[in-house]
């Protein structure tokens, strides 16, 4: 048997070498296999690395969400904003059930949303500080830090802050005059605003300040602060989650600045990249970017982007000037004069000179900025430890505020530069529920208390009509007792503030964190290879328990992003299919020709006793050998190419690719899978294209042997 096979392979191999067209076919198979193995390997590696990014940064292996949701889950956004997800109300039961599955490691509750935040402008912050100083001076508030200061020092600080405010006013007036002049229209700026500015820029206003400090501060806060536009609104994207579970489950997450949110407490962690990109002083951010670019070998002199950064640094010094009070301005001017060796005494002019950076002086000036100027400045609009006020629209449409303390910033290892992974911040799930008007344990307790105090009865929406107008309508449903709850105090006054401070310090139990609304949840698996199987298990379990959820893979959950690789894969298959189809047509033709040419040989073989099956195999083997030889070479070549690429790795060409590469470099590998698939394709192509000529060959009669050669 083996001997016969060896003979057939020998005939096949010899026949192959006999025909030059086989070289063309072999070349096509070789090329097609190389393309398939190299691109397939790259796509596989890309898929694996993207999976690491998606799974490790937000999605987990499986995402679950309510089956009642209008949209499908899309963690990285979709056309037309965030998907509309229905709330999952029985999360504790679901979590317990899922964590009972053998392959489930953890279930992390989530809710994805975004909100506009404002951190207050520099004038707001200065006035706030001034108000605090006055309250301490007048004995109206106790501040352990300020209270210990001698009265002289307190006065000096008040004078400093006042000088800072006056400096801001001066800059602002300059802006207004410039705007009026540039537009040649006196009405370009609201006359009332101009009048207010003119008033606070008079000596009389400041002479009378101490007489009624709170009145003066209120005027500044209401009429002047809104004119300062250095603090635009920021759009913040965040996930409300069980922060402890998140930190444990997503092990690539690490704290960059500050500390983790203490266990069970409310808190906010800003994505490091967002913190740097959006919250850092623009000038400092641009200096950082120039530094990074220079380290990569780019040159200011010839690089348009870097030239633009330098220009913007020179012209946009106002953000810095506004931050410096009189004392700091004096210090900064002195330092700049010494550093630049000039007698210029205008801060703006000095800064402009400092930021005229070139390839030669950049390193020095960068160091000067961070060593001397930065300590006088607020480098970030939100400081670690600050409380952030987040405003969002609840599901029912009203605006809700939530204050959360910023504990620090975080990043995912390897994805530090990726905007896709670095734009989503983290919030505790309690604050998230508050923001979206979902019932939290606090709210439930508060509601219960209110009901007891007022004697109100909870009436559901469905029963409201009956309760108001039905049989029992004679009795009063609710009667508020004036004075029991001071609504104003509760909602806006100190009560609310105290309440919120309590909330910030409060430690929640795991049960409180779990109980309540969850929009989606990440399921971490022990063995990610059994993904599909586990999704089925989850679906079956949820169905059996009467929990209406959908379970989707990370790929599906990542929306459009997850489909990109699939699209590339389809394109690759189409491309390779075209190459192999051409090969099939040529093989078919070539084998038909060969069969016709070998009629007498095949007839002779039949005459001397070869069965038809032998002839069939002889012809099939010829192209199978062709396929295996050239396909095998293609596999070797492809693997070698991928290995050569892997030796250096492919550097991420831009920040977006960091996410796909799951780090700065993609190191591709060829796994067995594309090789096996390539082998199957080659066998299919060769056998399918030779089947017809082979059948024809088996029909050749042994009589043909008897006919003399033409």
């Amino acid at each position: 048997m083996i001997d016969r096979l060896v003979l057939l392979v020998r005939i096949a191999t010899r026949n192959l070498l006999a025909s030059p067209i086989n070289l063309l076919i072999g070349g096509l198979l070789f090329f097609g296999t190389i393309v398939f193995v190299v691109l397939g390997g790259l796509l596989d590696s890309l898929n694996t690395s993207m999976a690491r990014s998606v799974v490790g940064s937000l999605a987990g292996h499986v995402q679950i969400y309510s089956a009642k949701s209008k949209d499908e889950l899309a963690l990285f956004g979709q056309m037309g904003g965030d998907p509309d997800l229905a709330a999952m109300t029985e999360f504790p039961r679901l979590k317990a059930a899922l964590e009972g599955l053998p392959n489930v490691q953890a279930v992390v509750p989530m809710g994805l949303s975004g909100a506009l935040i404002t951190s207050g402008n520099v004038l707001d912050r200065t006035l706030e500080s001034l108000r605090g100083l006055y309250r301490v001076k007048r004995g109206e508030a106790k501040d352990p830090a300020l209270g210990a200061l001698p009265p002289d020092e307190l006065d000096r600080r008040i004078q400093d802050e006042k000088a800072h405010v006056r400096q801001i006013i001066k800059v602002l007036r300059g802006d207004v005059e410039k705007a009026t002049r540039d537009l040649m229209d006196a009405k370009a700026v609201d006359p009332e605003n101009r009048a207010a500015l003119a008033k606070v820029d008079t000596q009389a206003f400041w002479d009378g300040f101490d007489g009624d400090p709170y009145g003066a501060l209120e005027f500044l806060e209401n009429r002047i602060a809104p004119q300062v536009t250095d603090a635009p609104l920021l759009f913040l994207r965040y996930v409300g989650t069980d922060l402890d579970a998140f930190q444990q489950s997503f092990d690539r997450m690490r704290i960059v600045k500050g500390t983790p949110v203490p266990k069970g407490q409310r808190g906010f962690l800003v994505a490091e990249l967002f913190y740097e990109e959006q919250m850092k002083l623009k000038t400092a951010r641009r200096l950082d970017k120039i530094k990074d670019a220079l380290a990569l070998g780019r040159v200011i002199a010839t690089d348009d982007e870097l030239k633009r950064f330098v220009k913007e640094n020179r012209t946009q010094t106002r953000e810095i000037v506004l931050q410096l009070d009189a004392t700091k301005t004096r210090a900064a001017v002195g330092a700049l004069q010494r550093f630049l060796g000039t007698a210029e005494d205008d801060l703006e002019a000095l800064l402009e000179q400092l930021f005229a950076t070139t390839d030669e002086n950049f390193a020095q000036r960068y160091a000067f900025f961070y060593e001397v100027l930065a300590p006088m400045l607020e480098l970030y609009r939100v400081r670690i430890g600050d409380t952030l006020t987040i405003k969002a629209f609840t599901r029912s449409g009203y605006v809700q505020n939530v204050n959360v303390k910023v504990y620090g910033t975080f990043a995912f290892t390897g994805l530090e530069k990726s905007p896709l992974a670095g734009n989503t911040s983290l919030m505790d799930i309690m604050s998230f529920r508050d923001l979206y008007g979902y019932l939290t344990s606090d709210k439930a307790a508060e509601l219960k208390e209110l009901q007891q105090q007022t004697g109100a009865r909870a009436v559901t929406r469905e029963d409201a009509e009956a309760a108001l107008f039905g049989e029992a309508s004679g009795e009063v449903v609710a009667e508020a007792t004036p004075g029991v709850i001071n609504v104003e105090e509760q909602l806006t006054g100190t009560g609310r503030k105290l309440h919120q401070e309590d909330l910030i310090r409060r430690v929640y139990t795991q049960q409180e964190i779990d109980e309540g609304v969850v929009l989606n949840a990440a399921v971490m698996l022990k063995d990610p290879d059994r993904l599909d199987e586990t999704i089925l298990d989850i679906q079956r379990l949820a169905e059996a328990q009467g929990l209406p959820i959908r379970a989707v893979s990370w790929q599906k959950a990542s929306g459009l992003l997850g489909q990109i690789i699939q699209v590339f894969r389809v394109l690759l298959f189409v491309g390779v299919a075209i190459i192999f189809f051409i090969a099939m047509v040529i093989i078919n033709n070539a084998m038909m020709m060969a069969t016709i040419q070998r009629t007498q040989t095949i007839g002779t073989m039949r005459a001397i006793g070869a069965q038809r099956s032998l002839v069939l195999w002889m012809v099939l083997l010829e192209s199978i050998v062709l396929g295996l030889v050239f396909g095998g070479l293609g596999m070797l070549g492809g693997t070698a190419i991928v290995a050569a690429i892997a030796a250096k790795g492919i550097a991420a060409p831009n920040d977006v690719m960091y996410f796909f590469f799951s780090g700065p470099r993609l190191v591709p590998t060829v796994t067995g899978e594309p090789l096996v698939v390539a082998l199957v394709i080659i066998l299919f192509v060769t056998v399918a294209s030779t089947l017809f000529p082979a059948m024809i060959a088996t029909r050749i009669s042994p009589l043909r042997a008897m006919q003399a050669e033409e």
Binding site: L7, I11, T604, M605, R606, G609, L703
Partner: protein
């Protein structure tokens, strides 16, 4: 003596479009074991058709063809192939060697199809036959590196390698010069005598005919007679058959 080939009232028709060509018209013939038989006749007399029927590569339109005791009309395609493989050796006019195989491999080929001997036995058999045909020094040569006579000797070795009962040769010398042709016939004759293998060969060459034990002369699809070579040659040349040449 048993008949190794027995043909009775065989006709063979070929259809060429609307016309029917009768290649054989009621042929009856027996061949005995060990015969060295020539089938003679002019072109179109039905020599090759008769050989095809004996060689089981074609079947009769009517009549009975028995080869090695088996009625070929009753055998399936697969059984006919096996009969050819194990009972019959073929020698062709154009040698018909497999061009991509060397001399040794060409001769070994039928043994591989039979799948009865191991590699060592095959080698011994092939080498011994190549020695008998005088080509054991050319075992690694490809057919295109050999002369016509050498090629036909390879073909003879290939035909004999399975130790068949019958060897059929269709005009084995037609593509050879006369000296080489005679040498080939001599070789066949000596193998016939040494091994007792039945040889049936067609020819229209008188010199070749002379080596046969018997000549079956065909014309227009009919057997004219079973004659001695001398009678056959004389008939073929249109002469009176010399008395001493007549069959007894």
């Amino acid at each position: 003596m048993s008949h190794i080939v027995s043909i009775r009232d065989v006709t063979k028709d070929f259809h060429l479009g609307q016309t029917v060509v009768q290649a054989l018209r009621g042929v009856t013939l027996t061949v005995d074991k060990g015969d060295f038989l020539s089938i003679a006749g002019p072109s179109g007399s039905g020599k090759t058709t008769l050989l095809n029927l004996i060689g089981c590569v074609d079947t009769a339109t009517t009549g009975v063809v028995e080869v090695a005791g088996q009625d070929t009309a009753k055998l399936s395609e697969r059984e006919l192939t096996n009969l050819r493989l194990n009972t019959i050796g073929f020698i062709f006019q154009s040698f018909n060697l497999v061009s991509v195989l060397n001399v040794f491999q060409n001769v070994e080929f039928p043994l591989l199809l039979q799948n009865k001997l191991n590699a060592a036995d095959r080698k011994q058999r092939v080498v011994s036959l190549l020695e008998q045909v005088g080509l054991h020094t050319h075992m690694k040569h490809r057919p295109n590196e050999l002369s016509g006579g050498q090629r036909q000797r390879v073909a003879i070795a290939r035909a004999l390698v399975t130790e068949p009962l019958i060897v059929l040769a269709d005009e084995p010398t037609a593509n050879l010069d006369s000296a080489t042709g005679e040498a080939i016939i001599d070789l066949m004759k000596s193998l016939n005598e040494r091994r007792g293998t039945t040889f049936i060969f067609s020819t229209h060459d008188h010199k070749v005919m002379r080596h046969a034990d018997w000549v079956v002369r065909l014309a227009d699809g009919k057997v004219l007679g079973r004659e001695t070579p001398a009678e056959a040659v004389a008939h073929a040349m249109g002469q009176e058959v010399p008395k001493e040449a007549r069959a007894s």
